[in-house]
């Protein structure tokens, strides 16, 4: 039985046909809980709100946090885009997209400008987003302090007391050893001048897009059972020293081999046949759009 057959099968109680589940798969009580937790997360920017992560037909750690946030927010009139590391066509993105469409019937798109709801893994779209859109990020490790403190109990106390000197010390030691901050992705940020937050494994390139944005950013970690948020117009500042500033990735002299873009985050790909190094836009939807024009 494939997904569509399973969902179209007779109801378990035998009374009539139709799906054996609510709109958007999750039952109303679950959706209500998740929405409540989202509201709390929005009210306390950067604070990790625990939530009762539900079982889904995909395994934890494969985007279930983002998926639950999406399912609890999606409306029949929404237009959905799902990306995985910028790509609309990767297996993870396609599976999540097809699942959501099967349980809601919403329209799908690859155009960032058209989508009202975007679920993403490890990238923020290149195209600027508006206040009519919501970006939902899948998060594997919501705790930014995990690198310096293994105990959840202690990290919660550290957040409560804004005891962040060990995180700063981690950066200081990095500078002493390597003369620069070596964190490549999951770069810790201070949200609204209070909580240090893990922005999910987006590249440093995407961090400035979170700062004072028009869009609501929601972060869901299904395995770790946490939801957090960056509301619109919220300061998001990467940790940096006065004499060692935060930098984004440098793609100087490189351009997308397909659309020629020089102002996007590029993936390096080695051509199997020729062995040549090629660069392509990581955001495929944006690249397609440019090529089409």
């Amino acid at each position: 039985m494939n997904l569509r057959e399973w969902m179209g099968r007779k109801k378990r109680d035998g009374c009539g046909n139709g799906p054996d589940y609510s709109f958007a798969f999750l039952d109303d009580v679950s959706k209500r809980e998740i929405r409540r937790k989202i509201l709390k997360a929005v009210a306390i920017p950067g604070y990790q709100v625990p939530f009762g992560s539900r079982e889904l037909p995909i395994a934890r750690g494969w985007g279930t946090g983002g998926l639950q946030v999406t399912l609890s927010l999606v409306l029949p009139e929404d237009i959905l885009k799902v990306i995985d590391q910028g790509c609309d066509g990767s297996v993870n993105a396609v599976n999540i997209k097809r699942f959501i469409q099967a349980v809601t019937g919403v329209r799908l798109t690859t155009d960032t400008g058209e989508a009202t709801l975007i679920q993403t893994r490890h990238r923020v779209p290149e195209e600027p987003m508006t206040d009519a859109q919501i970006l939902i990020l899948q998060v594997p490790y919501p705790e930014a302090l995990r690198e310096v403190e293994p105990s959840e109990r202690v990290t919660r106390r550290m957040h409560a007391e804004a005891d962040y000197s060990r995180m700063w010390l981690y950066l200081y030691e990095d500078i002493v050893k390597f003369d620069e901050i070596t964190i490549g992705y999951r770069y810790p940020v201070t949200v609204n001048g209070r909580y240090i937050m893990d922005p999910s494994p987006i590249p440093r390139w995407d961090i400035p897009k979170l700062h004072m944005a028009e869009t609501l950013f929601l972060f869901g970690a299904g395995r770790e059972k946490r939801i957090y948020a960056v509301p619109p117009h919220t300061p998001v500042v990467p940790l940096e020293f006065e004499d060692f500033r935060f930098r984004v990735e440098n793609f100087e002299g490189k351009a997308c081999a397909r659309c020629g873009a020089t102002d996007t985050y590029l993936d390096e790909i080695i051509d199997d046949a020729t062995g040549r190094r090629l660069f392509f836009c990581s955001d495929t939807g944006f690249c397609d759009k440019r090529c089409g024009e």
């Binding site: 409560a160 005891d163 000197s165 200081y172 030691e173 002493v176 020293f241 006065e242 004499d243 060692f244």
Partner: protein, 279 residues
């Protein structure tokens, strides 16, 4: 002169307490452990004052509550009762009992105004992090955000505590016990604390190293005029460093006064025993 640090009725009970021993723990005549419920008085109704630039000694046998007292002042333990006031020098500042403040506020006060040196360097230092990094941690907690300034300050402090500056980026795990102790002192002094807490700093060091560490502490104290609370069971250390001394037993203060007076002319029988049992 206004006292810098004021402590009133500081009490710490380990255990739930019972009708027999509440509220202040068992009476001092019975010792420090309640015979009925087993509640131990870590610190019982301790009151003291430390004035700016003064060095206060705390002596007593092991288990008398000296370290508990220091840990309560450093907010590492939650007090059962009592009041602690820190006078920050501003005349108009509101007098706030620090024990009633939020953990967030207490942490701020601790990072900005206090320093501590433990008997065991493993408690005060991160052994895998560079020595400069250990000092940096304290400065970062106090809000420093400039790497070159942090390194300048760390180098200055290490130089003052006689650690070769070229070993600044080595972890303290590579150092001898005396050096580790001096790194701890540098770390404790890094934020220009108002109060420095020294908990048995020379215990476990050999005699010549003890002398150098004590010399260093005395010189730094004279120069920086920082107020200190020195905990020790070694009367020699107390005699060398402290102007005033309190004697603790069973978690209570049994005698207090000028150091010379307490050591030369002890009144309480326990102090007499302590002084006479010196080798």
């Amino acid at each position: 002169m206004k006292p810098l640090l004021e402590i009133h009725g500081l009490t710490k009970l380990f255990g739930s307490g019972c009708g027999h021993c509440l509220p202040g723990g068992v009476s001092p005549e019975e010792g420090n452990r309640c015979g009925r419920c087993g509640t131990v008085v870590g610190c019982g109704d301790v009151s003291l004052m430390v004035y700016p630039g003064e060095v206060l000694g705390v002596v007593g046998e092991s288990g008398s509550g000296k370290s508990t007292l220091v840990r309560l002042i450093h907010f590492e333990l939650d007090a059962t009762a009592g009041e602690i006031y820190l006078n920050n020098g501003k005349e108009d500042a509101a007098r706030e009992n620090l024990l009633m403040q939020s953990p967030f506020r207490r942490r701020q006060i601790r990072s900005r105004h206090m320093g501590i040196v433990y008997q065991n360097p493993w408690l005060g230092l991160r052994m895998q992090v560079s020595s400069g990094g250990n000092i940096a941690e304290k400065l970062l907690a106090a809000g420093w955000r400039n790497v070159s300034e942090i390194r300048k300050r760390a180098a200055f402090l290490l130089e003052r505590t006689e650690i070769p500056v070229n070993r600044m980026d080595e972890p303290p795990a590579n150092f001898s016990g005396g050096m580790q102790q001096r790194v701890q002192i540098a770390k404790a002094l890094s934020n220009n604390p108002q109060v420095l807490l020294l908990d048995e700093v020379t215990t476990g060091l050999d005699l010549s190293v003890q002398a150098r560490v004590l010399d260093l502490i005395r010189n730094l104290q004279r120069e920086l005029a920082v107020a200190m609370i020195v905990v020790s069971h070694d009367l020699g250390v107390i005699r060398l460093l402290c102007q005033r001394t309190i004697v603790m037993r069973h978690g209570r203060v049994v005698e207090s006064g000028l150091t010379d007076q307490v050591l030369e002319d002890p009144r309480h029988e326990y102090t007499q025993l302590l002084v006479s049992s010196q080798l």
